[in-house]
Homo-oligomer: 398 residues x 2
């Protein structure tokens, strides 16, 4: 819990309510240890148990109605004007607050395509309608998705500093893993090594441990989000691919790294591997060159995709990039194709201050998967890498 970042985000949120002419933004949650509204990341930074309402208004009011047992925690943030604790039920308190605020438009956390702006459950929506029966408020509900999205995307200096910090640590962890003796180790063992490394470095994993890191040893591995396989060992003539995200002080990293295991007598990777690496690198750079505020994400994705296919490789079946922040898949827009699964996310314009991954991959028959993934921040007129890009495939020698 860091009060200063929460205070900063709340003030940013109120600016966004004004920008989008939303009278009031209502985050309505319960038992977040089970189903957690991602919007809480920027509103509190910790969980809540009983029905709880976080209300921000265009006038700048910040109100929290929470269970009595959690009201101290919210008060200690020094971020809310009013913290109302209760024992029996929230309905009457919520009605009273809304009546006092008298909003014409109430933003709720639902979205057809933005996963980070869709934290209101269907049951909680139904409860709101039930609790507010006989009031005009249910007819004033609208989506708060623009506010939620921009609040996540426009990272502050403090947020950027935290991402930079975990990136340095992640690169350190990768350095240690890739310089350890890996030949003969299986995917599960390398996955375990990363666990020890994270513990030593005092950091957490940025997504669930089962697939973090993803470890791909050679061409028979399960690519994508596969669980490490104890039957696949690192052997000469194979590409070893890793995809890992770490977390410190609530902020995440997400980087991929690749190595080729030299065979006896080899001093460099085979031409097929080098050629694929170079095509990936150029495609990534082509995507990066297209990034600047205001551009729609699909345009950036297309630039990278075109460059890769121009080199004769099949296109990757995912978005070129996603936001990273408190969550490793931080929601909001994507640098991705306009495919059904991404909904409206690829057409949202890029925001200055956003932190994206940029990532793509090629499977090299007989060797395994090459995957590149770096992180960058969007500047006033372009973007710059936050990670130290892996410019060449690493080499593993006997």
């Amino acid at each position: 819990m860091t009060s200063s970042i929460i205070q900063e985000k709340l003030s940013q949120a109120i600016d966004l309510l004004r920008e989008h002419n939303l009278d009031c933004w209502l985050t309505f949650v319960r038992e977040t240890s089970q189903t957690r509204d991602p919007a809480l990341d920027n509103l509190l930074g910790f969980g809540l148990t009983w029905d709880s309402a976080i209300i921000l208004t265009k006038q700048g009011e910040k109100i929290a109605i929470v269970g009595q047992y959690e009201s101290d925690n919210v008060k200690k943030l020094n971020a809310y004007d009013r913290v109302i604790g209760y024992n029996f039920g929230i309905a009457e308190l919520l009605r009273a607050e809304l009546k006092r605020i008298n909003p014409q438009k109430i933003g709720l956390n639902y979205s057809l395509s933005d996963t980070a702006a869709d934290g209101l459950t269907f049951g909680m929506y139904a409860r709101l309608v039930q609790m507010l029966a006989g009031t005009p408020y249910p007819l004033q509900f609208t989506t708060a998705e623009d506010v939620v999205r921009k609040l996540r995307e426009r990272k502050s200096a403090a947020e950027l500093a935290r991402v930079r910090e975990i990136l340095v640590i992640t690169e350190q962890a990768y350095g240690a893993i890739l310089s350890a003796p890996l030949i003969g180790k299986n995917e599960t063992e390398i996955h375990a090594m990363a666990g020890e490394m994270a513990q030593e470095l005092g950091v957490d994993f940025g997504w669930e441990r089962l697939t973090n890191p993803i470890v791909n040893a050679g061409e028979h591995s399960s690519f994508g989000h596969g669980i490490p396989n104890p039957d696949l060992k690192v052997e000469p003539g194979m590409i070893l691919h890793l995809d890992m995200g770490l977390k410190k002080n609530e902020y995440c990293s997400d980087l991929q790294r690749c190595a080729y295991v030299l065979r006896d007598g080899e001093t460099e990777p085979p031409e097929a591997v080098t050629r694929a690496w170079l095509a990936c690198w150029r495609a990534m750079e082509a995507g990066k060159a297209a990034i600047k505020p205001g551009v729609q994400g699909w345009v950036v994705d297309q630039a990278a995709r075109d460059e890769l296919t121009k080199h004769g490789y099949p296109e990757f079946m995912h978005a070129l990039g996603h936001h990273v922040g408190r969550n490793v898949h931080d929601g909001g827009s994507v640098l991705g194709p306009r495919w059904e699964k991404y909904g409206e996310r690829p057409i949202k314009p890029i925001e200055q201050g956003a932190i994206y991954t940029i990532e793509l991959d090629v499977i090299v028959e007989g060797y395994g998967m090459i995957g590149l993934e770096e992180m960058l921040v969007v500047t006033a007129d372009g973007c710059e890498y936050l990670s130290t890009p892996q410019r060449e495939i690493a080499l593993i020698r006997h």
Copy 2:
């Protein structure tokens, strides 16, 4: 990920579809690293990224439609009859499966009061309606809450064994903490000790670390779900109260422990502390005695509440008990009062095999909070403790 438990729970789920005459149960999720439907606990045991549908039918079919990058993981569970991977979008595949199954009643994960059965977001509900426009299916939606609830509540032998295991470890951790030199340590330091302990024991925390364990040193602490306070030190004449939940192999514990810090010359706690302890113990035992399958939870809560108030103490402002399993607050019914915040949960009948906490507390003026919390399993005609109950307040000496 443990295939055997998942296989067991899936087969139990199909029995429940028959019990509740539900043709088909549809769990519809995406980006579970952000908003996670708790139903996935029993369906997969790991997360999913793109729009994904897990469909079980009364006929016994088990179908998963997931992103291509995650289909290997689902296949490896050996639990699904059909695993369909996709790249672009799920809509057509989902329509085709529903058409083939031709259900009259489709259960979805929404609930007004059961937090574990309310994992469908409002946006995902809207997407379903949109994707299935022109089909009869949206009119056949109903809640799957009874299936979800009983699936969590009726713990199998394998699940029970895992809970027993983490309880043994939790008691070990408590033993070590309470026998360490604690006088002069502040709440935050004791919280940190527990972190080191968990790391040594190779277990995770069962709810968010920030408030796990809850540490209450004396009467000025923040009771309930408070964040540990570095300004409050353990001192003679004070009650130290801890509330901790650990996790191993995906299953949780949740226990409270209490100690009194003897002052110079004292050999036992003051009468006010002993009397309150005894009242809590008797109230807990009165609740326990009321537990058996078929009884409504509020009846159990009332028995404990009445016993406590009979001794002249104010009633606690929470439920006497909640389920514990993959989640520390495992949803479903509660052993709790019929207060607004608990909705329908207190009137659901107790299920055999359920694992509950049983917990209550009294604030002793001048000393701090006494809180008791044990865990138990419901048997055919009653219940038995799974934890080793703390029968007397522990004593901390100089």
